[in-house]
Each structure stands twice: as structure tokens, then as C-alpha cells.
Amino acid sequence: MKQNIIKLLSGLTFLAIAAAFLSACKDDNGTDPKVDTSKDMFWLYSRIGEYPDQADLIAEVTREDIEDPAFTFTLKGNGAEVQQKITYGQVLKDGYYYCVSKDQRFGKYKIKNGQLIAEMEVPYTRLYNSFSFAWKNDHTLVIFGPDGNGDKLVYSEINTNTLDMKNGELAIPAFPAGYDRVRTQEAVYRDGKIFLGYQVYNSTAYNVQPGLRVLVLDASTYQAEKTITDSRSDNFGDGNGGRFQSGILKDKSGNIYVSASPGYNSGNTTSYLLRINSGATEFDPSYEGFKSSSIKLSGIWDLGNGKAILRTDDSALGTGGSTFVCEHNVFELSTGKKTKLDIPAGDSGSQMNVAVDQENGKAYIMTNASRSVNNNIYIYSISAETVTKGMIIPPGYNWLLRLDYIGSN
């Protein structure tokens, strides 16, 4: 009897283990929606899961799919894993991402057939990231930032065809009493000059020096020709360089429009859209295209026709205390006229969520407004001034970090 019990129990257990192993050993048969990369392409950068199981994926999406309101975006079997190599805040140009990688390199990357491909890489530690950047020309990228000690500003001028570099240090005014660190904000190149925002702060109390500061650099010598200051704000564009939002717009005439919003721990409360007129190296004192103490101006994207998509964050619109509840508007740069687009407000996590294809006259706005119901891509027609619904994005993504228009890839 005892022997039989032993045999029975051991037999059952082995069967159970074997069954579990066999079922577990089956390969995952995820759907494999291969993307036709010959078509116009977008890259959608999303973040899923919680630390330490957080993952970043960039998926290729065709124009056909992104404009199809019946198409549902999925990462199932789709997307390139990138979290070991890059983080968002990379610089996009002509179908390539340029950035300082997580493994201490500067690289030229692209997403192709579900894979992050490093076209070129070189060892690099001079800067910790490439959030503050300006294009001198189509092949010359300049990135800026503090050194390791945080008390100097340095730069690297990079030939994006070869990744050859020229490095240097920027002269900045001496720290005023009570401040000992410096960091950079956004930068923009115009007519042989680079306008670089920077911020001085205290490393103990973390308070920032009031006011906005812009170095006007000679783009050949990197000598500072002057420093622009303005007391209305602390940020020149996005306060973290161009990582989170596009905060600077240079129109075809050479006017530079700058979102200037309250910064982290700054004490300021009012958001502005400021302007440096073409040929000038000062803010136009007569221009405040946008001004609000309750709504934060968080992003601006050029539509190419004297108008822009303006993203505003209004915490009053949201529930749950989110400070990133965004609305999208069409904004006339010269007059400041703002027309709200019929796109759901709310934000459960999105950053650089607007991609503009001026050539085809469309702006693509990615929403992550709801965690419980489907979100969509919205397509704004620049000529018809209409909004249509595009691709469905199911709820549950922790962050939709970027939407980039690539073109033919």
C-alpha cells in the first residue's frame, strides 16, 4: 500500500512538473506586424513597466497606419528595445538620432526593422547628455552642458558624417555670491550665432538665480558676444534643454520664439512666449505672444505658415493632481491668437508628442490623455485647419515619450 502511494505521488508530481515545463518551453508566438519601411515612417517612443522592469521601445509606424482611425497601435511583436543604449532627449535629423549613449559613447542611430542600429559610435564622456544642442548646418551639431563638477560649461562640435569633434569650454560670467553651479537649457543657431540659455543655481539649497540668461556665442570661435538677461522667467525654452519639449521656434524670417515658463524651484509663476526679432540679439520688449500665470506654456512646434502648435499645461483641467494636463492650440505667432484644438485634454504621461510634416502640411499630435480608455493620434491639416482622428493607442502606457516624423527610412 505504502509503495503504491509513493509511486502514485511521485508519478503525479513528475507529470505535473513535466507538463509545466513543456508548456513553459513553448516559444512565444507574438504577433509580428512587420512594418513596411518603404513608406513614410514615424518613430513612436514609449516607456512601459515599473522600475526595475521598466523598458523603453521605439516602434516604427507608417503614415498609412498612423492616419487610420481603425488601426490600433501595439508593441506586441513590434518595436526596438532601446533602454540599454539610449534615453529620450536624443537629437533627430534626417532619419537619425544623435545622442550621448548610456554606455559612454556619442552615436548616430536609427530604428530599422525592429532594431536600434548604431551607424557610428565613438567613445565620449565630455558631456553627460545631448539635451542642449544647435545645428550650425546640416552636418554640424553642437552640444552643450556642464562638466562633471558642474561649475563650467563645455561644448562639443560634431561632424555628423564622421563624428569627428572639436571640444572647448565656454566663458560665462562669474557666479554671483550664493551660487556655485551652472546648467544649460535650449540652444538655437541663427546667422553665425548660437543663442544658448543657461541657469545658475546653488548646490545646497538648489535655488536658482532669478531671471533668464542667454549666451550669444560666435558660432566659429565660441566666444560669448554678450549675455541676454530677462527678469520675466528663468527658462530659455525647455528648462532641461530640448529633452522634454520643443521650446524654441525659429521661423523662416529668422525670428526666434521662446517659451519661457516657470522653472523648477524658481519662485516665478508666469509663463511667456518671448521673441528675439530677426537680426536682433535682445528680446523684443513689445512682444508677449503668450502670458499666463495659471497655464504653463510647455511646447511649441512650427507649422511653417506663421503659425505653430502650442502645448499648454493646465493642472486645473486634470484630476489626481497631475501638473502635466495638456491642451493643444493653433497659435498665430505674430498676433498671439490662440485657437484650441478639439483634442482631449489630460495627460497620463507624454512628452515630445507633436510631429510636424510641413512638406505634406500635417501635424500629428499624440495623446495619452486617459489611462482607462483608448487614446488616439490626432492629425491637424495645416491648410484645411481641421483635426481628424488617427491611430488608436490603447491605455496603459506609462509614458509616450516622443513622436518623430522620419519620412522615408
Binding site: A16, E50, D53, A55, D103, T125, G150, S203, S372, N398
Partner: protein
């Protein structure tokens, strides 16, 4: 789902078994007489009458009459008067047989001493039943590993544990490298470590499973998911308890090993006791050193001529590791006023280079970690304190653990050892830092147990753990913080033994109290926008209750079913609640992690003195909620801990062992774990809800075989050849269903072998071993695909001298 059914089926089996046992009890015949007695061991002359042999089998040969001894070695059963042969047997002892005439009426209690059978050092993998069985009787799901089989290897305790079912030790590199210990899928702070029931932190922070040599431990117990109150721990995943030699024999166990990668390891474990005075002194120590300069294969290195990264093999060049510990305890045993009274102290030191970041493309060449610690402690044990069957076990200690991270090198290193001078520190990417952490810790434990009868016992355990967390940067005085935290854990347990100890139940209740005191300036405008929760909680008190039950039903002498459940917690750590005053913001509303843990298992053994077979299988469920995880607010550059994720883990595991005499033994185990994300935020499911968690091994197993021969090269010699094998099935680095399957990051399947040749002479007094780890030079990885050592050779010399006092 299937495992839930298995658990349900098991519970039904237990219920049916209880009914059948009750029925059998009712059918006892009335024309019988009682035979009782006590079984002791003759192995240890130092203890009068020897220690009891718990759970020995006593019977009248050729009849069905008999019983299993209780934990005190006592037995009692009824049989008709007559002439019989009394037979007493137990694994590890010679079977006792003697004629017995059982008279009607009262029979005098018997006193029987069992002679210990000759055992070889490498004979048994799992603790002999006299220890494991006691653990199993309480119904807890426990792995108990006897270290004898590893005593001649250079393994550390984590490597021993890594070969048992349900356990994964994920170590990032060679000797002394970072490790993460997982019990049934729960890991990190959810697993707590003890040495003889004392928290390992109380021994000094340098002492960890990845540097304790195997020779310092007699056995290791791993409680999975459901933890006895005696440990007084917020161990949501389980407990690892290292058991050292507790007998009063005099012995010296000294060993020295040397091998690949400039590795040297020495260990001494010794004890002297004087039987006449009861004086006892124990001295233990170890020393580990390795350059860990093993070859990294196909690592990326930049070729300036080609202007691209190429794959090459290079040796690690900045991974030197050193650790040393000395520990002395002295006192008395077997006195009227104490069964054991010891005062002890220890000092330990550790230095290690830091070679890589989280991936092997991130290299360091100057960063170091340094640590040292000391501790003083008092232990007191007394059975029958004041009244019979009231037993006390007290412990108190003070320890101070210091460690520092040195990040002062402004260089970027490459795998060939070359570097570029940079403008930032290599780990932080910021300014130079020498960050010091000091953690003075007071630990006290009081355990009282009272056995009302053989069927009923009660115990209460109180554990106090009070420490401060003192952090400062030598090069940046702005980053200092000091927090205090006091944890008090009280446990109550009732042990019930029914139907001649066939059924045992241990329900228990635990109370967790946690008190905080922060040095944080809560009025600082820097913190205030990012503080979460009520600031009053910053210096407040939180309490939580947990509970559970562990049951076992013995079907036959060596076969039983176990089931256990616990609702349990992992309390918050100071930096999780209070931040670090620098880059981590406080969250005063942070709750402890909690989990409902279920285990169902059975075991069976069979065999004679020559053939022995043992099987153990179990299934488990862990439903863990409110996982504490860092949430990085990238826009602000700060981190805050939050109760975010929930996870459900279900799994099964099994182990089979067989041995034939002293010639051959074989074991194999396998584990399957399915961990699924169950995170819901604000009532909404994450996109990864219901998906298997990434970066976790989910199928793994081990096998081992030893063949040996006694007296082949002369009397008292033994030669043995051993083989062990570990298999870890491939797993995805990130979420399995997401991303292009043809380019997903995968940690490949790993098959690693080890070989060991041991020659012992003079009855195992002297031992020489030659070990080859990973002889096939297979690639082994940690969870982020950091490469671990390839083929390596070690020689170990060991002397084991023992003498009865």
C-alpha cells in the same frame, strides 16, 4: 490556475487524512499494555545520556505495533502482551534490535542508546532527517541543506544555495561580486538572512552569503514564503538561516584554497570545551582574496584605426576583492543557571574594486567600495527556566557597519585597460565623491516557549532592531543625512500535535511596529513641493499585523503533506521613507510591501540502510502588493519611492535524491516560476498587466552525482569524484511580448558543470580536493548579461581534527 487546483487538492487530501487517522485511533484494541521509553544518541559523550534522537522509529519486529518518537526522543504505544523483537531505527544510526518480553500491566520505561553509523563527509546532500524532519514537522516549506558535501570545495554559501530548488542566486561576477537572492521569485529586501537565528547585520555588515566560506556552516535552512515567528523578521519572501556547529565537541576545521584568477581562500572554525567546568570557546574566521581577472569574451572596444567598436576578448583589470572576518565567542554550557551563555565579538573588513556598471559596456577603472564592521553580542539559553518546559533563548548585540563608495577618478576606461582623461567622475558622471555610510545597529531578541504537553506548545518572540542611517560625502558636505529607525516585531505561535503527532498545526500571529525619526528639514522649500504624505508621519509610528498557519500531516512514517500560508510584510527601509536629503525625496505615506503566500508540498522517503530514496515536491503562490519601487522624476532629477507594482508568482518545484551505501549518490531538482504583473494604477491596468515579468529566470534546475570508495588506498582513506550541473533556461531581458522578437534582448540558456576530485585520509582528518568549475568554459551571465567566470581550477587543503571533551 493549475497550481490553485493543486493546492486545493492538497488541502482536501489533508482533510481526508485527518479523518482516516481519527477513525484508526477509535479502533484501538482494549486488551493491550503500554510500552514507553526514550531513545538517545550514544554519539556525544559530553552530554549525559546523550541527546535525544527525535523521530526515531520504534516497533515490534514483524508486527504492526510501533510508534515514532517525539522531538524529545520519547515514545509510547500499545501492544498485546507477548514476546517480541524490539527494533529501533533512524537514519544515520545503526539499527537496534533486542528481544523484549511485554508483560501485562505496567512495563518499566525503556532507555535505549543508538550507535551512530559511520557517515562520510560527502554522503548526504540534504540535512539528515534528524534535523530536516524537525523542520518539516512544523509544516513550513523549507530547504535544509547540509554542507558536508561541499566542505572540500571552495564554494561560498550562495553557491551552495544556488544548487537547491526554488532558489536563484544572481551574482554579477566573480568572488565577492554583487548578488541578489531570490526565494520563489521574491528577492531583494524581501529576503532576510540569519546566522543561528540572529540577523546577519548583527554580525557586522561585511558578512554576507557571498563571502562566508562553506566550512563555517553546518547546514543552511531556507524558509520559503512562510516564516516561523522565531526569526522576528519582515521577510516577505523568506529567510535564510545559516546554522553553525552547536554541539560541544572539540574540533578544528582549517582549510586553504587557491586557484584561478589569483584566488586564495582560508577558513578556520574551531571550538574548545571543558566538560568539567562547562567552559566553551569558539573561534571562527575567514579570508578571501581574488583578482577576479577572468577573461571577458567578445566585449566591445573602440578601434581608432577602424573608427568603430569591435569585439575582442580581454581580461578584467579592476575587480580585486578582499574580505576577512574574525569572530570569537566564549562562555559556559550545561550549567545550572544556563544551558548556554556566550559573549562574543567580531571584526570584519572588505575592499573591492568596481569594474562595471549595470552593463559590461560601462567600465570603471578607479572606483572602489570599502567596508568594515565590528560587533559585540551576548547569547543566553535555558530550558526549564523557573518551571518545567519553559525554555528561554535570549540574544542582544551592538554592531557598527561602515562602508564607503569612492568615485574620484576622472577617466573613461576601456576593456584593454587604457583610458581617456575626462571631466567627470566615472560612476556618477558628476563631481568627485567619497560617500560614507555608517549604520550603528542594536539588536535584541527574546524567545520564550512553553510545552504544555506533547500535543500543545506555545511560544512568543520579541525582536528589536534599532539603527541609524548616517550618510555623508567627504568631498561634499551638503549631502549629509541622518535618520533613525526602530523596528519591533512580536510573534505568537501555538504548536499543536494531534493523532500521535501525525498532524501538526502551527498558527501564528505577528506584530510589526516601525518608528522613524528624520534629520530632514521638512520646511526646506526644496523638499516641500515633492514631499508625499503627511509630514507628521516623518517622525511617527506605524503598526501592522500579519498572520499565518503551517500544517503537516504524516501519511506514513516517511511520507507527509505540508501546507502553509502567511499574510506577511516587508517593512520600509529608511531611505525609502525619508529619502537621502539629496537626490531621493521622502514619501511619508509609503506603506510596507505585503503578500499573501501559500505553500503546498509533500515529501516521501524510502529505502534500507543501503538504498535510500527521497522525493520532495511543492507548489506555491505569492500575491505581492504595494511593491516599493523608486520612481525617477526625470524632469526634476529626483527619485521618490512609491508603492507601485503588484505581482503574482506561481510555481512548482521538485527534488529527488538517491544514495546507495557509501558508493554512490545522486540528486536532481527543478523549479518553474511564473511571475506575472498585476499592477493597477488608479483603477486602471498597466499595458503590461497580466504579462510575465521580465529579466527573471523561470525554469532552472540542478543535478549532482558523487561516486566514492572507502579504503581503496589504505584503511581510513576515501576517494571520491563528484559532478554537479546547473541549467538555467533562457529568459528575456525585458517584457516578453513586446518588441520585435527577432531582435529582443535575451539572456541565453546556461549549462554550467563543476567537477570535484577529493582524496581523504586518516578518516577524513586530512582532505585534498581538486575542483574544476565550468570545465566546458560555457558562457555564464547575470541578469544584465554581465559575464561571469569561465573555466577555473582550484585546489583545497583541509584539516578536520576532532576530539570528544
Amino acid at each position: 490556475m493549475q497550481i490553485s487546483k493543486i493546492l486545493q487538492t492538497g488541502l482536501v487530501c489533508i482533510a481526508l487524512s485527518i479523518l482516516s487517522a481519527a477513525g484508526a485511533q477509535a479502533q484501538e484494541k482494549s486488551n493491550t499494555t503500554t510500552l514507553s521509553g526514550r531513545i538517545t544518541s550514544a554519539e556525544d559523550e559530553a552530554v549525559p545520556a546523550g541527546p535525544p534522537v527525535a523521530y526515531a522509529t520504534v516497533g515490534l519486529k514483524g508486527t504492526g505495533y510501533g510508534a515514532v518518537c517525539n522531538a524529545e526522543g520519547e515514545f509510547s504505544f500499545k501492544a498485546p502482551p507477548g514476546s517480541y523483537t524490539l527494533q529501533v531505527s533512524y537514519v544515520g544510526f545503526k539499527t537496534y534490535e533486542a528481544p523484549l518480553k511485554l508483560a501485562a500491566g505496567n512495563n518499566a520505561p525503556l532507555k535505549i542508546e543508538l550507535q551512530k553509523a559511520k557517515m562520510d563527509l560527502d554522503e548526504v546532500t540534504i540535512v539528515g532527517k534528524n534535523q530536516t524532519q524537525q523542520l518539516k514537522e512544523a509544516g513550513f516549506n523549507v530547504n535544509a541543506i547540509e554542507t558536508k558535501a561541499y566542505q572540500n570545495t571552495t564554494a561560498n554559501l550562495n553557491q551552495v544555495l544556488d544548487q537547491t530548488s526554488g532558489i536563484r542566486v544572481r551574482q554579477s561576477g566573480g568572488l565577492g561580486s554583487n548578488m541578489n537572492f531570490s526565494i520563489n521569485g521574491l528577492s531583494g529586501n524581501a529576503v532576510k538572512y540569519f546566522v543561528d537565528g540572529v540577523p546577519i547585520e548583527a554580525m557586522g555588515g561585511v558578512m554576507t552569503l557571498n563571502n562566508i566560506p562553506v566550512n563555517l556552516a553546518k547546514s543552511i535552512e531556507v524558509y520559503k514564503g512562510v516564516v516561523p515567528i522565531d526569526f522576528g523578521a519582515d521577510a516577505m519572501g523568506g529567510v535564510v538561516n545559516v546554522v553553525t556547529n552547536s554541539g560541544v565537541r572539540n574540533y578544528l576545521d582549517a582549510s586553504f584554497g587557491t586557484g584561478s584568477f589569483n584566488t586564495q581562500q582560508a577558513a578556520v572554525s574551531s571550538q574548545y570545551s571543558d566538560n568539567s567546568t562547562g567552559f566553551l570557546v569558539k573561534a571562527n574566521g575567514f579570508l578571501n582574496y581574488s583578482k577576479n581577472n577572468y577573461i571577458m569574451r567578445d566585449v566591445e572596444i573602440y578601434d581608432p584605426a577602424l573608427k568603430k567598436y569591435v569585439l575582442r576578448d580581454h581580461r578584467r583589470f579592476h575587480d580585486q576583492y578582499f574580505s576577512a572576518l574574525g569572530m570569537v565567542e566564549a562562555g559556559f554550557v550545561n550549567k545550572k543557571w544556563a544551558d548556554l551563555f556566550l559573549i562574543g565579538g567580531s571584526y570584519s573588513k572588505q575592499n573591492n574594486d568596481i569594474q562595471t556598471g549595470t552593463t559590461q559596456n560601462i567600465l570603471y577603472g578607479g572606483a572602489e567600495r570599502q567596508a568594515d564592521s565590528y560587533s559585540v553580542s551576548v547569547k543566553y539559553k535555558k530550558d526549564n527556566l523557573f518551571i518545567k518546559n519553559l525554555n528561554a533563548n535570549l540574544f542582544s548585540s551592538f554592531s557598527k557597519n561602515n562602508f564607503s563608495i569612492i568615485d574620484t577618478t576622472y577617466r573613461q576606461y576601456f576593456w584593454d585597460g587604457s583610458y581617456n582623461v575626462t571631466n567627470r567622475a566615472e560612476i556618477s558622471g558628476g563631481a568627485r565623491s567619497i560617500r560614507h555610510y555608517a549604520r550603528p545597529t542594536n539588536t535584541a531578541r527574546a524567545n520564550l516557549s512553553y510545552r504544555l504537553s506533547d500535543a500543545h506548545a506555545f511560544s512568543i518572540n520579541y525582536q528589536l532592531n534599532a539603527f541609524s542611517n548616517d550618510v555623508y560625502d567627504e568631498l561634499n558636505s551638503n549631502t549629509a543625512s541622518k535618520d533613525y529607525i526602530t523596528k519591533q516585531i512580536i510573534g505568537f505561535a501555538y504548536q499543536q500535535s494531534l493523532f500521535n503527532d501525525r498532524l501538526s498545526n502551527t498558527p501564528f500571529l505577528k506584530y510589526y511596529g516601525i518608528k522613524l525619526k528624520t534629520s530632514l528639514d521638512v520646511n526646506n522649500s526644496y523638499y516641500s513641493p515633492y514631499m508625499v504624505g503627511d509630514i507628521a508621519n516623518a517622525n511617527g509610528f506605524q503598526s501592522n499585523w500579519a498572520y499565518g498557519i503551517a500544517s503537516r500531516f504524516r501519511i506514513t512514517e516517511n511520507t507527509g503533506i505540508k501546507a502553509s500560508y502567511e499574510y506577511t510584510y516587508r517593512l520600509q527601509e529608511p531611505d525609502e521613507l525619508l529619502g537621502n536629503g539629496y537626490t531621493v525625496m521622502p514619501n511619508f505615506d509609503l506603506k510596507p510591501e505585503n503578500s499573501n503566500n501559500y505553500n503546498l508540498g509533500f515529501y516521501l522517503g524510502n529505502g534500507s540502510q543501503r538504498h535510500r530514496f527521497f522525493f520532495e515536491g511543492s507548489g506555491f503562490i505569492r500575491n505581492a502588493k504595494d511593491y516599493i519601487q523608486p520612481f525617477f522624476r526625470e524632469a526634476l532629477g529626483i527619485t521618490q519611492y512609491q508603492n507601485t507594482a503588484s505581482v503574482s508568482i506561481k510555481g512548482i518545484e521538485g527534488e529527488v535524491r538517491y544514495s546507495f551505501d557509501q558508493l554512490l549518490n545522486f540528486s536532481i531538482n527543478a523549479s518553474y516560476q511564473n511571475a506575472v504583473n498585476k499592477t493597477v494604477k488608479d483603477g486602471n491596468k498597466e499595458i503590461t498587466y497580466g504579462f510575465k515579468l521580465p529579466n527573471r529566470p523561470w525554469i532552472f534546475g540542478n543535478a549532482a552525482a558523487n561516486i566514492g570508495k572507502n579504503d581503496l588506498f589504505g584503511k581510513g582513506t576515501r576517494i571520491q569524484f563528484g559532478w554537479s550541473f546547473q541549467y538555467i533556461h533562457w529568459f528575456y531581458l525585458t517584457w516578453s511580448d513586446f518588441g520585435d522578437p527577432s531582435h529582443k534582448s535575451v539572456i541565453p540558456s546556461q549549462s554550467i558543470h563543476n567537477l570535484l576530485l577529493t582524496y581523504s585520509f586518516k578518516d577524513s582528518r586530512y582532505n585534498v580536493s581538486l575542483e574544476c568549475r565550468n570545465p566546458t568554459n560555457g558562457l555564464a551571465y547575470d541578469n544584465f548579461k554581465l559575464q561571469k567566470p569561465g573555466r577555473a581550477f582550484f585546489l583545497k587543503l583541509r584539516v578536520f581534527l576532532t576530539k570528544q571533551s
